[in-house]
């Protein structure tokens, strides 16, 4: 298993979650309380994704050919 500094979620999963939140904001009338909560969630996701990009490493595993 590759080391995932993002916890149990993959970068792709975080990216998908972020897209979902951003789509929600696009969707017209938004409730302010929800908007605040989602904003904080999104900010956290972005932080995790940036950390992943800056710290994770690629891992090469040689299988017996």
């Amino acid at each position: 298993m590759a080391k995932k500094p993002t916890g149990s979620k993959t970068y792709a999963q975080l990216s998908a979650e972020l897209s979902e939140i951003m789509d929600w904001f696009e969707g017209g009338e938004v409730d302010l309380d929800e908007a605040l909560a989602k904003y904080q969630q999104a900010a956290k996701l972005i932080e995790q994704m940036e950390k992943h990009l800056k710290t994770a490493a690629n891992k090469i595993k040689k299988l017996n050919a």
Partner: protein
């Protein structure tokens, strides 16, 4: 040796023993002739030059692709004397040699596989944009491998690369490449992409990537494939069969993963967008409140206006009933004592009466009285 009497079977066994010892395998290059396939399984052909011709026997699974007489090929085989059918070489591997033969063989194979639909664009699958687990089939000590890994590391993080180290040229290459692809497809935790790559080289160096077994393995892969053969002009058939083709190993890494710098910039942009969205949401909420307040104020104003109008109407109405207005018009209020006289029956002749007019009162005495006649009033 002549003194030893052998049976034919003995001789065959003896000779084969010697052959096995002296020539376990030989490589012969020559012109293909009498090439035929029997029952879709057995392959027979001769390799010849100007003077000699040597027979070979093998199975279709050893063929690199469709072949035809006249092609120059290199066959590896073990010479044997068959008990009944005479001398032959048991085929181990067979490849076309020389640019001409390789090109011809590739053409034959391309035609065959195109007819089968192996290269059809509808078969191509998309690669996942952010893969985490990829298979890599290449020669581990090669520049191709080094280039691929270097660009991969530059561009992205967190990828697990499952490396299958294989020969990418030579007789053993096709078999090893096929086995590597199939093995990666059998993993319980499948990779998301299989990258098969090598650097540039001569037509002979690249022959494995035009080998029918390799091309079929690429086409049959459950996992989407990315094939990169560093070769400028023609595409190898393995590249045509792949889901995605890259021009070089470095290009393969570029197509496989996003660019870290670009992604960080995107994330920053998304952060700004979110801030704006939040501000919008806030403004929206404020606007909503303002609208509601305005609507309320409007409603209240309407109600007040309506009431005010009603009040005006009532005032006017009341004015009509104002006795002072009547007095101004010349009417008088007649009182007997404190009581207001509204009928002649209330008054006797000689009564003292008070007449209130608009600017004062007049004392009067009743002199006569007469009722109003109905006929008169109707005439008016």
């Amino acid at each position: 040796m002549q003194d030893v009497i052998l049976t034919p079977s003995d001789f065959v066994a003896l000779l084969n023993q010697t052959l096995e010892f002296a020539y376990p395998a030989v490589s012969i290059e020559g012109e293909l002739s009498n090439f035929r396939i029997s029952k879709n399984r057995w392959v027979y052909f001769d390799l010849k030059d100007e003077q000699a011709s040597v027979p070979f026997f093998g199975t279709v699974y050893m063929l690199p692709g469709p072949l035809q007489d006249g092609l120059m090929v290199r066959a590896v085989g073990s010479p044997r004397l068959h008990a009944r059918f005479g001398f032959t070489l048991n085929l181990q591997s067979l490849v076309p040699v020389g640019e001409g033969a390789l090109k011809k063989a590739a053409e034959l194979l391309r035609a065959k596989l195109t007819a089968e639909g192996l290269f059809a664009p509808e078969r191509k699958r998309f690669l996942p944009p952010i893969p985490e687990r990829v298979g890599l089939v290449t020669a581990a000590n090669s520049a191709a491998y080094a280039d691929f890994v270097k660009i991969l590391n530059e561009r992205w993080s967190g990828v697990e690369v499952l490396l299958s180290d294989v020969y990418v040229q030579g007789d053993q290459a096709p078999g090893q490449i096929v086995e590597a692809i199939e093995m990666l497809n059998r993993l319980s935790n499948l990779p998301e992409v299989i990258v098969i790559t090598r650097g540039g080289g001569s037509a002979e160096d690249l022959a494995a990537f035009n080998d029918e077994r390799v091309v079929r393995a690429v086409a049959a892969s459950r996992v989407p494939t990315l094939v990169a053969v560093g070769h400028e002009v023609d595409f190898s058939l393995a590249e045509l069969a792949a889901d995605v083709r890259a021009s070089t190993p470095s290009n393969a890494a570029q197509l496989l993963v996003p660019d870290r710098a670009a992604e960080l910039a995107h994330l920053d942009a998304k952060r700004q967008t979110l801030k704006r969205d939040l501000a919008s949401a806030y403004d929206g909420a404020v606007m909503e409140l303002v609208n509601r307040r305005d609507a309320l104020v409007s409603q209240i104003t309407n109600v007040l206006n309506a009431q005010s109008q009603q009040l005006q109407s009532l005032r006017r109405l009341i004015k009509l009933f104002d006795p002072q207005a009547a007095l101004k018009r010349g009417y008088a209020i007649i009182r007997k004592g404190s009581k207001i006289v509204s009928s002649i029956d209330q008054v006797k002749i000689g009564d003292h009466l008070n007449l209130q007019v608009q600017d004062g009162t007049i004392s009067a005495k009743a002199l006569t009285k007469s009722p109003k006649l109905r006929a008169e009033s109707s005439r008016l």
